[in-house]
């Protein structure tokens, strides 16, 4: 399943009130020349998300509607886990966004490293008082880019799209790792962890 730029742009336009797509894509790190060329490496980005009701209202439907290339991950099924491993093996050069419950993402990360580089990990937990706590650890650049989006996305599916929209842009493997804690409105579903990764050598 491939992503069409127009569907991603449609999503971004629809998500942010009063925002124009192009600056938003740029602010997310999507190369502007990519918009002209209609085909970019970001279009090959892949989202893995947990096939679980805890992810919120029909994550798969939301992601499918947006047109994001995705694969569901499950801890429960050997075939599904195997399919994920096959995908990772053949995902040369693609960026990877992972979203799931903490145990699942921990397990996925265990299969990624050290041949993939996880540039960002986000822990998204529900707090008392209708707040969502986001604890990021990783490179500064994607962290800053994502931070601006937290209040704009409505649910995990939209967050997945934003995450998968990140390009390697100017991320440098030599950059210092940092942490950032933020609050936002509550997302539906349970506590989640997210990863943004590239195969070693790409970043």
């Amino acid at each position: 399943m491939s992503i069409t730029l127009s569907s991603r742009r449609t999503f971004l336009q629809a998500t942010v009130r009063g925002g124009a797509a192009l600056p938003l894509l740029t602010s997310l790190g999507v190369a502007t020349n990519a918009i002209a060329s209609d085909l970019t490496e970001t279009e090959n980005s892949l989202c893995l998300f947990e096939a679980d009701a805890a992810m919120g209202a029909d994550m798969a439907a939301g992601v499918r509607q947006i047109g994001l290339a995705y694969q569901t991950v499950t801890l429960d099924d050997a075939a599904g886990w195997s399919a994920m491993l096959d995908t990772l093996e053949s995902a040369r050069g693609r960026s990877l966004a992972v979203l799931g419950r903490p145990a699942t993402v921990f397990a996925v990360r265990g299969m990624l490293e050290p041949t993939w580089r996880v540039v960002l990990e986000g822990r998204h937990g529900r707090q008392v008082g209708s707040q969502m706590r986001h604890e990021f650890a990783g490179l500064d650049a994607p962290m800053k880019q994502l931070a601006g989006w937290l209040d704009r996305v409505r649910d995990p599916a939209q967050y997945a799209v934003v995450l998968a929209s990140m390009t390697r842009g100017e991320f440098s493997a030599d950059a210092e790792r940092k942490t950032l804690d933020l609050n936002s409105h509550v997302w539906p579903g349970s506590d989640l962890v997210s990863l943004l990764a590239w195969p070693k050598g790409v970043v």
């Binding site: 429960d76 195997s82 419950r101 397990a107 580089r117």
Partner: protein, 524 residues
């Protein structure tokens, strides 16, 4: 994370060592980047500072020839290697080395399934083959052999056996099911044990013992060599499989359950490694703690009762399975049913009695048929930032011992502010009591309490005559120290063996408390 050096090696020597390793395995398979690569060799579930276990590098050979040359380099520089295979031994240290500075010897790339013998029912695998890998392969070739897997299916077939792991089918005692082993000694010598020592042997994976002393056990939970290949017996698909679950209402039923169970196990009416599982383990794979309780300290009884009712589980939950032709299963079930029915409140379930959405039942059902899955990992969702180390004493299969161990752990655990979450894996003559000590890995105070509790449990269990079968890298010396009969004669014997088979002391120094002569004074 700052880079560290192997103990006793200067920076210039380390650079030369790395260059030599790169000549052997290629630049791509020597990992030194502290930001991007080496974190993969940390233990995310540590209760101690990560710096204590930070590797200086990792090296991943692809075959025995490369391994041989890696050992040569290590011997030359006297560099300590820490052997891992799939590196998924979480709760016991994961891929992290015993001490900072070791070079992780990562055998993940040695992942060939060398043989599947359908007629005799075995497979021969290298260290990097996971249960998932073997299962996929068997499916692909249309094999009628079953895998016996660990609960998280990403674990390795070979390393789980060498760590004395157990599974869930009648082939669940993995060491018992191992037959034929290839080991590389520290000096690079490749040894075939048992019948494999006979050139052209026709029975390498059929008869375990060969001629003379049987040495396979010396290479399990040890640092006497690097196991490069093993034969594992695989169970032929039986003509029938009927998993069952029996729930028990009261916490105090553990005594009666275990007493009923013993003759059934000894007489092999329950052939598989059966499980007696406490309710929180059942709950933790499918819900989170805060779904029911947001207070601090152990969960109150009233809340536990509500959980049991909602999830249709007992205070204790027994999982077993019938295997064989249907008439045989019917007869066996009659005996098992009647025996457990003597316990008031026992409820019996087959597959048709449990919901399709019952997470705990569904994954246990798979495990009993050797279908790998990762469901049990959900236990880590129980609390935010969930992590665990497992305290695993061996118990006799008696009600008195099971209860004594349970209370010994539960009381200390509750006092320390943790929930008891545990299970008994029931073998022929023993039970592996697995207490999953779950803590918040971002909470330094909780980690410190967990660490202290673990140590207290080691001491209390030893004082009561119970020893652990496996442990986390942080507790290897302490637990090895409890096996101290006759002035630690066993440990001293291990050390003598170590000095002979690995005089340079390069292989996994400190594994299970066994240190090479050069590091004995420095042991933690």
């Amino acid at each position: 994370m700052e880079s560290v050096l192997p103990p006793g090696i200067k920076r210039e020597q380390f650079a030369a060592l790395l260059a030599d390793l790169k000549k052997v395995v290629g630049r791509e398979f020597v990992f030194t980047d502290t930001q991007w690569e080496l974190p993969a060799y940390n233990d995310a579930y540590l209760t101690t500072p990560a710096e204590l276990h930070q590797p200086s590098a990792a090296v991943a050979p692809a075959n025995v020839e490369e391994l041989q040359r890696v050992l040569e380099v290590a011997r030359h520089y006297k560099a300590p290697l820490w052997t891992i295979s799939t590196g998924k031994n979480f709760a016991y240290g994961g891929p992290a080395p015993r001490k900072a500075g070791y070079i992780v010897l990562d055998l993940k790339r040695m992942n060939r399934i060398l043989e599947v013998n359908e007629k005799h029912g075995y497979a021969v695998v290298e260290p990097g083959v996971s249960y998932m890998d073997l299962y996929r392969h068997l499916q692909k070739i249309g094999s009628k052999l079953w895998v016996d897997c660990a609960a998280p299916g990403w674990g390795g077939v070979l390393p789980n056996m060498t760590e004395h792991g157990v599974g869930y089918t009648p082939y669940g005692d993995h060491v018992t099911m191992q037959c034929g082993m290839e080991v590389m000694l520290a000096d690079g010598t490749l040894v075939q044990t048992g019948m494999g020592a006979l050139p052209g042997s026709q029975t390498n994976h059929l008869y375990k013992y060969g001629l003379g002393p049987s040495v396979d056990g010396l290479f399990t939970q040890s640092n006497f060599g690097v196991v490069t290949k093993v034969g594992m017996w695989l169970m032929p698909e039986p003509p029938g499989y009927r998993p069952y679950m029996i729930t028990f209402e009261k916490e105090s039923d553990l005594h009666a359950i275990t007493e009923v169970l013993r003759p059934l196990k000894v007489n092999m009416l329950i052939p598989a490694v059966a499980m007696t599982v406490e309710m929180l383990w059942e709950a933790a794979v499918q819900i989170t703690r805060r779904d029911y309780y947001t207070g601090k300290g152990p969960i109150p009884d009233s809340v536990r009762k509500k959980m049991r009712s909602d999830l249709k589980i007992g205070a204790w939950n027994f999982y077993g399975a019938l295997y064989g032709p249907p008439p045989m299963m019917d007869n066996t079930w009659e005996v098992i049913h009647d025996a457990f029915a003597s316990i008031p409140g026992a409820k019996f379930y087959f597959d048709e009695d449990r919901s399709k959405d019952d997470v705990a039942w569904q994954y246990r059902k798979k495990l009993g048929a050797g279908i790998p899955n990762m469901t049990e990992y959900n236990v880590m969702n129980w609390i935010p930032n969930g992590a665990h180390i497992d305290f695993s004493p061996i118990s006799p299969v008696t009600g008195a011992d099971a209860t004594k161990q349970y209370e010994l752990i539960r009381d200390r655990c509750n006092k320390a502010g943790f929930d008891y979450c545990g299970e008994f894996a029931v073998g022929w003559r023993d039970m592996h009591h697995i207490f999953c000590l779950t803590f918040d890995r971002n909470d330094a105070k909780q980690k410190a309490r967990a660490n202290k509790l673990f140590g207290d449990l080691v001491d209390a269990a030893a004082a009561a005559g119970y020893g652990e079968y496996r442990t986390h890298v942080d507790f290897m010396d302490r637990i090895a120290g409890t096996y101290n009969w006759n002035d630690s004669a066993l440990l001293r014997m291990h050390e003598k063996v170590k000095d002979v088979v690995d005089p340079s002391g390069i292989l996994s120094p400190g594994k299970m408390g066994i240190w090479p002569k050069s590091m004995r004074k420095g042991k933690a």
